[in-house]
Amino acid sequence: MEASAKANISKIAEALHSQTNFTKKECEHLLNMYKDITGGADDAKLDRNKFKDILHNSFGMTDDLMMDQVFRAFDTDSDSNISQEEWLKGISTFLRGTLEEKTSFAFRAYDLNSDGVISRDEMFQLLKSTLIRGSLDYQPVEEDPDEGVRDLVEIVFKKFDTQKKGTIDYAQFKSSVVDEPLLLQALGACLPDEKSADAFLCTFEEVHVPTTISYIRTGGGRQ
């Protein structure tokens, strides 16, 4: 790699590493990775398909719809490309995010039309494929094949919509997740599982920071 590109990466890493959960060195690694993926040109951006490849190959995601949403959540400026900055911040949340960062990320992923609230329809879209048709235990009735999904939507809605607003805004989402961290990915796996996250991290990590969020209460919350 030429010196100028190297200096460039170093510069960006220097500027951005404080906004992420990575060290400067780790940021440089990630930026190099970005460069490799995009093909090396300075102005090349990570597009949807390449990004989905990464999600599939490195993070074991399979659901196409969900990958699109993750892309949207990464792509904060909605230009259908992921810039270097978006890449760093997104991966930071992905791998080392705090519960709050992950909550915000998940909410962006679930908010299909980016209007700041999750509606019943969006939820239905997200949960449509969760029940496996024709499996032994779930046999939809002829008249209403989506009954089960609607049921799930109602359950989730009841969990999140604590103020009976009819839609779920970020505040509600967050308070429910803080209450029960398992709800973080209640509408689909938008974050990598711990194993693949660890595997991805260990290719470049400099300091070991735990990747997982705690699903149980410790300290203050003890009975």
Partner: protein
């Protein structure tokens, strides 16, 4: 019935029904349904079949003569045609004993009888039964039907419904039969092997000695088989050597067809002779029952063999249909065979009561093996278990199920039928139920949720595991759920999860184990799967009291959950040992320094459980845990205080620990706890600790400063027995000092103590008699005891069945007699009292004997009583005891002998009974107290010359001379007195010899010479 006939029945090529057991069942069922149908349903019976049933009958023309009406049959009767159930009934009546054969013939002629009877509409339909109901609805809703048509249709439908139900019933019974026939698989074989391995052991209770795979075929191939490849082709799965108790070793083969005995394993060639030498058995269990009487007895005594008894019941029900039918012969023989087993057993076992017991237990869906296994545990583990017999309560019918059942059932369905997202959602939804209520807990179990939840634990999805564990953790508070989890093999999975890197998982799994391991079998399973080592390693928490971060908090939480699980597990002795081996002690010591109460409670709780083992007590002292225990005694948390006090209670058995408690100022907080009279558990623990600590005299002094006696005396009333035992025990220890004995009186403690003598709690009685006895050493106290007739109460306790109570009461009687005015009169006033004392000298408990000897010594001080005792034959009994090895008994026995010498010719009798020589040997033991009482006894005995001679022969003088030099004046006096007596005898002897010499005749006794020589 159409489905059964097409799918389940075994048809031969020529569309004949095979003579198979399942076909027999089907035939009998059909016959049962058809025979008598027209009687029960007159309308249905008359209805005309849409097509007649036609078949070649097995009947002869003559058979029909006996019936009144003929069905439409052709001349030679070979061909029968039936148009209604009424007619069918006639045919069947004509068959009499050959009904099944006729049904068989009918079915062979009409492969789908339902469609013929009811019309093609109802032809055999292999599809779902939804169709059927739809059809029924259509039928009834047709527009232009008359009333009659409607009625007929209703009848048809009703019959269709009945056929349908019959179909379902038959399919079930055929399925039941098929499931019994299933072939062995490696998994089943290994499961049975494991089960029997569990049951084996050297104790008499255990049905067999050992079972092991044949040494040359130990290896398990990847397909689960142990047999070598060339034998696998023959269907062999594995070979085992079974060491039976009553017969030799047998070598058995597990094949896919069943278990059998082969020609045996030879050590020389290291190979098995594969040839079969016995019948085939469905299980090794059955084989062994047949082979070994011991095995049969040990397994049947515990519970009936559920399966065979159930079989028999089923056979009984079938019987009426099997009368003398040739076709049934085979089936019946088979049934006979099956029946043989239980019948024989019942004969050999005898009484009808046992039979009924067996029948009763057979109703429980529990196999004999499982029951035997459980009773095996009770031998091996000591832990107390109140939940062992949790009562099973199930809802009888669906009608009165609460609505939770349906909702939970729905969520469990989503749990199973979706991807991880829907699983997580369902788990969260399930968590919203009131999981701490029994309704929900049982609902989850009854809709099959436990299986799913446990299944989730074996997936790769951490979030699913966490969600599932969160639910399991809650519902496992229910004893029935615990059992169900253990039965489903959940503990093994939970133990495996402890290995996971995720701390959340470790925490939740440990907490669940803590809940489940509340009963013995569960604790054992956890140990056997290596759970203890893993749980102990959870306790290793690097930063305990440093600055906290979320990560450290999680480590602490892991350690806390580990401690919780170990707390539950430490209820079993074997587990305590396993925990020690896993190195739990230093880790607990470290955690004990924690500041968190919720950490300390399980840690101290575990210590408290473990402190029942001497090893742990020493370790608690040497690892410096006493200091922390004392520190936590001052905490604000009552539960923690309670566990600390209990631990000290158990540990303070050791003197060093008692001193440590004092040096860490532990006595003050302990006494402070006496004010918490509301919390009985705490009070019991605190008083227990005080009791044990007051065994050291320095502690007693400290307690005196703290005015403990007054506080304890105040607790003598209105407290549960657990508290009283400890309070009285403590008072008893304190009463070792004179001041305290007075203090007890001044605090008004004597009265309540004497009243407690009327109780029944044995531990309490032991402590009370001891305390009363000690208090009686003071005259003032004795006056109160006498006034309350305390001695009579003590005396009556000599009749208590518990030897400890007897001994303690006898000891207590001694000071009473010594200190009461006119003791002799008092003792005589107890009718049969002295006789009782003499009788107790025949006890086989050394402690009782020693105590009674002490009592005899006290009683014998009164001459009249001594006379009565002598009359009751106390002297030979005492003399008979002299050969004892127990020092305590030696001491009191010689005291008693000393006192008993005072009457009549008792001295001579002792000599004659050979009591003197053993007494001399008592002087060789180390204990000075024994010396003193022995010297007294010898002194008394030496007043008779014969005894002197015996003593001298035994070489008493050398010992006595040594004792004369002792500091103990009483001992000196007795020893020198004894020597004086011997000397005097010798002198007298010398004198008489000289005088006889002077007379020129007679010679002194040879013995006398011997004495004189000295």
């Amino acid at each position: 019935m159409g489905l059964t006939l097409t799918k389940a029945a075994d048809w031969l090529d020529n569309s004949k029904l095979d003579f198979s057991p399942s076909n027999q069942i089907i035939l009998t069922d059909i016959l049962k349904a058809v025979d008598g149908y027209s009687k029960n349903n007159p309308i249905g019976g008359k209805m005309k079949f849409s097509e007649p049933l036609v078949w070649d009958s097995t009947l002869k023309f003559e058979d029909f003569k006996k019936t009144e009406r003929f069905p439409e049959t052709s001349q030679e009767v070979a061909h029968v045609e039936c148009h209604s159930f009424d007619m069918l009934q006639l045919v069947l009546d004509a068959c009499r004993s050959k009904k099944t054969a006729e049904v068989r013939a009918c079915l062979e002629g009409n492969s789908d009888p339902v469609s013929k009877i009811l019309g093609n509409r109802y032809a055999c339909n292999t599809e779902d039964d939804v169709e059927f109901y739809k059809q029924a609805e259509e039928d009834l809703q047709g527009e232009d039907i008359t009333y009659e048509e409607f009625e007929t249709k209703k009848v048809v439908l009703k019959m269709a419904m009945e056929f349908h139900n019959l179909d379902v019933r038959m399919l079930r019974s055929v399925q039941g039969l098929m499931s019994k026939d299933s072939r062995l698989s490696p998994r089943l074989v290994e499961a049975e092997f494991d089960c029997l391995k569990e049951l084996s052991g050297s104790e008499d209770e255990q049905p067999l000695r050992d079972i092991e795979p044949v040494p040359c075929y130990v290896h398990v191939f990847s397909n689960g088989y142990r047999a070598p490849n060339f034998r696998q082709l023959q269907g062999d799965i594995a070979y085992f050597l079974v060491y039976l108790k009553d017969t030799d070793v047998i070598c058995v083969t597990a094949g896919t067809k069943g278990w059998f005995v082969n020609k045996g394993y030879s050590k020389d060639t290291n190979d098995v002779d594969f040839e079969r030498r016995s019948d085939l058995y469905g299980s090794l269990f059955a084989l062994l029952r047949e082979r070994s009487r011991h095995f049969r007895e040990r397994t049947s005594r515990k519970s009936g063999d559920g399966e065979t008894a159930a079989d028999e019941a089923a056979d009984g029900a079938e019987k009426p249909d099997q009368e003398g039918d040739a076709d049934q012969q085979a089936a019946r023989e088979e049934a006979e065979e099956r029946k043989k087993d239980p019948t024989l057993r019942w004969v050999s076992l005898g009484t009808s009561e046992q039979q009924s017991q067996e029948r009763r237990s057979a109703r429980q869906p529990q196999s004999a093996a499982a029951a035997a296994q459980q009773s095996d545990e009770s031998d091996s583990e000591s832990g107390t278990d109140e939940e062992e017999d949790a009562v099973e309560r199930r809802h009888e019918s669906n009608a009165d199920l609460p609505s939770e059942y349906w909702q939970i059932g729905k969520f469990v369905r989503y749990l199973k039928g979706g991807n991880q997202t829907s699983t997580i959602i369902s788990l969260c939804a399930l968590r919203d139920f009131q999981l701490n209520t029994e309704v929900c807990q049982l609902a989850i179990r009854d809709v099959g949720g436990l299986e799913v939840l446990l299944n989730l634990l074996e997936t790769e999805e951490n979030r699913c595991k966490i969600g599932s564990l969160k639910i399991l953790k809650e519902i496992s508070q229910n004893p029935q759920i615990r059992r169900a989890i253990a039965d489903l093999g959940g503990l093994q999975t939970l133990v495996n999860i402890l290995k996971e890197p995720s701390k959340d998982l470790k925490c939740l799994a440990a907490e669940t184990i803590a809940n489940v391991a509340k009963f013995r079998r569960a604790r054992r399973i956890v140990r056997q799967h290596g759970g203890i080592r893993k749980l102990v390693s959870l306790l290793d928490c690097p930063a305990l009291n440093g600055p906290t971060s979320p990560e450290i908090e999680r480590d602490i939480e892991v350690a806390r959950c580990g401690a919780l699980a170990l707390w539950s597990l430490s209820n079993s002795t074997k587990n305590k040992r396993a925990m020690k081996r896993a190195g739990v002690i230093p880790l607990l010591g470290k955690l004990l320094k924690s500041r968190h109460e919720d950490m300390l409670i399980p840690v101290v709780g575990t210590l408290q459980e473990c402190a029942s083992e001497p090893d742990y007590r020493v370790a608690i002292r040497t690892e410096g845990m006493v200091e922390d225990l004392v520190k936590n005694l001052k905490s604000d948390n009552a539960e923690l205080q309670m566990h600390c006090a209990s631990t000290i209670f158990k540990c303070a058995e050791e003197e060093e620990t008692r001193d440590l408690v004092r040096s860490y100022d532990g006595l003050e907080p302990m006494v402070g706890l006496l004010n918490k009279t509301d919390n009985k558990e705490l009070l019991s623990a605190a008083t227990g600790a005080i009791w044990k600590c007051s065994m050291s005299s320095k502690n007693i002094r400290k307690f005196q400063e703290l005015n403990v006696i007054e506080k304890l005396v105040r607790l003598l009333s209105d407290q549960p027995e657990e508290v009283l035992v400890n309070v009285v025990g403590a008072l008893g220890e304190m009463a070792a000092e004179k001041e305290n004995r007075h203090a007890i009186r001044k605090a008004g403690g004597i009265g309540p103590l004497v009243q407690l003598l009327t109780g029944t709690n044995q531990a309490l009685l032991v402590n009370t008699t001891r305390a009363v006895g000690r208090c009686a050493q003071e005259k003032e106290n004795m006056a109160i005891i006498d006034r309350m007739d305390g001695v009579r109460l003590l005396w009556s306790l000599l009749k208590n069945p518990n030897p400890e109570v007897q001994a303690s009461a006898a000891y207590a009687i001694c000071p009473c007699i010594d200190n009461v005015n006119d003791a002799g009169e008092m003792v005589r006033s107890y009718v049969g009292g002295l006789e009782l004392i003499v009788h107790l000298l025949r006890s086989d408990n050394i402690k009782v004997l020693a105590a009674i000897c002490a009592a005899v010594a006290s009683i014998a001080k009164d001459e009249e009583n001594l006379a009565v005792l002598t009359d009751h034959g106390v002297i030979p009994l005492l003399a008979g005891l002299t050969r004892t090895q127990d020092e305590e008994l030696k001491r009191h026995l010689s005291e008693a002998i000393a006192c008993c010498c005072a009457w009549g010719n008792n001295r001579i009798v002792f000599g004659k009974e050979g009591a003197v020589a053993p007494l001399v040997s008592y002087l060789r033991v180390k204990d000075p107290k024994v010396h003193r009482s022995t010297a007294r006894a010898l002194h008394e005995l030496s007043r008779h010359p014969d005894n002197c001679i015996t003593m001298h022969e035994c070489g008493v003088v050398r010992h006595l001379l040594g004792l004369v030099g002792s500091d103990d004046e009483a001992l000196q006096l007795a020893a020198s007195g004894c020597i004086a007596n011997i000397r005097r005898l010798a002198m007298a002897n010398e004198k008489s010899r000289q005088s006889s010499k002077a007379r020129g005749g007679g010679n002194g006794g040879a013995n006398g010479k011997a004495v004189a020589a000295k």
